[in-house]
Symmetry: C2
């Protein structure tokens, strides 16, 4: 089978256009030299891009193509959520083997289209090429009222550290997938968080609108790694209370896979929950949950630039970043 | 050697920041969840992304790292030029083997920085990861006064087809590189067009400001392939006059490498010249050259959707797209 690049672009374009997902803000989609996007007045643009590479970020035999389509967009949209922004459009760069331009691509595009609709983020353009391994790069353009984005660098000593959701579920889902040796099933709740993560868009926008947070980011590589980045950007440290970390409800399932729920909560990747810091005086404005997603205070920002974990007996130990880093050979 | 992702981001960030290339429009560079970009009033954004992959788009042994840095940005900026736009900022997604995070990366960043300064396009963010083969994806954000971008779809029958520069030089440069079995030297004029292409930004903007063109695109895959795309987008065809095609000045050098200058002009890739169509009544507004770059009328837009080449004796033959397509196994 020989496929031309233009056929592939047409296929991608059709998958999106026939459902009428054309946005008044995106004037030209795929097929011209570039896309045109009309920004809203009094808004600034949020720009982010994310690699999603076979062998590095996913294994083909573990993930159904539909989930790869969903997840490649969800991961990048999560960066928009982390700034309190609204996603507007995305560019898809896709490199595929010839063998994947038929049914595999159809399923991939179905997952991508579902995510695109769910997040309100339309396809504006992209680039396709042939490659032995599947490679993707997604650029998302979002916006936020000018000057109102919530960045990483605003955390101050004494502020409370909050996290959304429960940590470690995606990493447990990955372990379940690996041991089952079958492709994930979208209906399995244990693997859903790994295969079909939901960026916390409504929460991020609410936190920004209510001016609740001094800093915010999303958790993609694991709490210990990501909190360290937030602290480094803000020139501060943090003390976490191990007792309060919102972890798996299904602890037995974790232990069955040889995983410790606390370690999963500290170092597990791919959760795409939000991590943010709240000045003490705003504490009472935070509900226990937002649209059903738990919001949990897990510790305090400190002056000294180190991460400390306090256990249930009040003993403190240094916490080192143990999350995912593509340049570190051995995992956490 | 073990490198952390954060070290790599710092290195890239430092390479750009220490020279003071901070733009008032880019509020956050690398290191946060995403970049913030403030659009100019009455402008719309131009968005484009481009793969640049080892083995598919370049061979490492042929290209000095400095030229890869230059070219990865130049290729994407050329899409902005093709719409008459101004490049503003870019995102760099870079995947590298560990062995390339030292001197290779320094040289790569030096070339990228030169290009960034030359094109007035600042680094706003990106993503890095580890990978056996070098992979790059560059997203460029540009802008243009709202409603004034020159797109591919506006060509009408009877209009003249113009091209900038001379066609086939980059392809000849590639042949010279391949036969010399040495990495390209930036001072060799024969290989310069392949290694350090210059997107036609000033020309594109001038064409747009003067409203000279009904359609425009850049030549990346070869005239026969790209003109076909412009015609398809406009629902027209074209007749090229073989006699007028601006080809290599150094025809002997081409023949020495077994290449025919006419075939190079028709099918050679990587020229990054501009192709545009001009209504007859505007013909007299086009000079023979713009800032030293020849502007040559090479044919006419026709009603029937096919490409025809007329030779020096007036004989016509069908021209099929013979430029570069990553999904076609055998080249032109």
């Amino acid at each position: 089978m020989t496929v031309r690049e233009s056929d592939l672009i047409d296929k991608i374009d059709r998958a999106f256009r026939r459902r009428g997902e054309v946005s008044p803000e995106v004037r030209l989609g795929m097929g011209d030299d570039a896309a045109l996007f009309r920004p809203r007045a009094s808004h600034e643009m949020i720009l982010t891009c994310d690699w999603f590479l076979e062998g590095t970020h996913f294994l083909q035999e573990e993930q159904p193509p539909d989930s790869l389509g969903w997840k490649c967009l969800a991961r990048a949209v999560s960066d928009i959520a982390a700034m309190g922004g609204v996603p507007r459009c995305f560019l898809l760069s896709l490199a595929l083997p010839d063998s994947h331009t038929g049914r595999w691509l159809d399923e991939f595009l179905a997952g991508l289209r579902r995510a695109s609709r769910k997040f309100g983020c339309v396809l504006a353009g992209g680039d396709t090429t042939r490659r032995r391994e599947i490679s993707m790069n997604v650029t998302v353009v979002g916006d936020v009222p000018t000057g109102r984005a919530v960045v990483r660098s605003g955390a101050g000593p004494g502020e409370l550290i909050y996290v959304s959701g429960r940590l470690g579920e995606a990493e447990l889902g990955l372990a379940v997938l690996r041991q089952s040796r079958r492709r994930g099933n979208p209906k399995n709740l244990l693997t859903k968080k790994h295969l079909y993560p939901e960026p916390r868009l409504a929460l991020g926008q609410w936190v920004r609108e209510k001016r609740l947070a001094s800093s915010m980011m999303d958790l993609s590589d694991g709490l210990s790694s990501d909190l360290w980045r937030l602290c480094a950007a803000s020139g501060v440290g943090a003390r976490l209370e191990s007792r309060t970390l919102p972890r798996l409800q299904n602890a037995d399932m974790a232990r069955k896979h040889g995983l410790d729920p606390l370690r999963l909560a500290l170092h597990g990747g791919d959760d795409y929950e939000l991590l943010f810091t709240v000045p003490l005086r705003k504490r009472k404005l935070l509900p226990r949950a937002f649209q059903g997603i738990p919001l949990t205070p897990i510790g305090t920002i400190t002056k000294q630039s180190k991460l400390v974990l306090r256990d249930e007996n009040g003993r403190e130990q240094l916490l080192t970043a143990g999350g995912w880093d593509p340049f570190r050979k051995s995992g956490a």
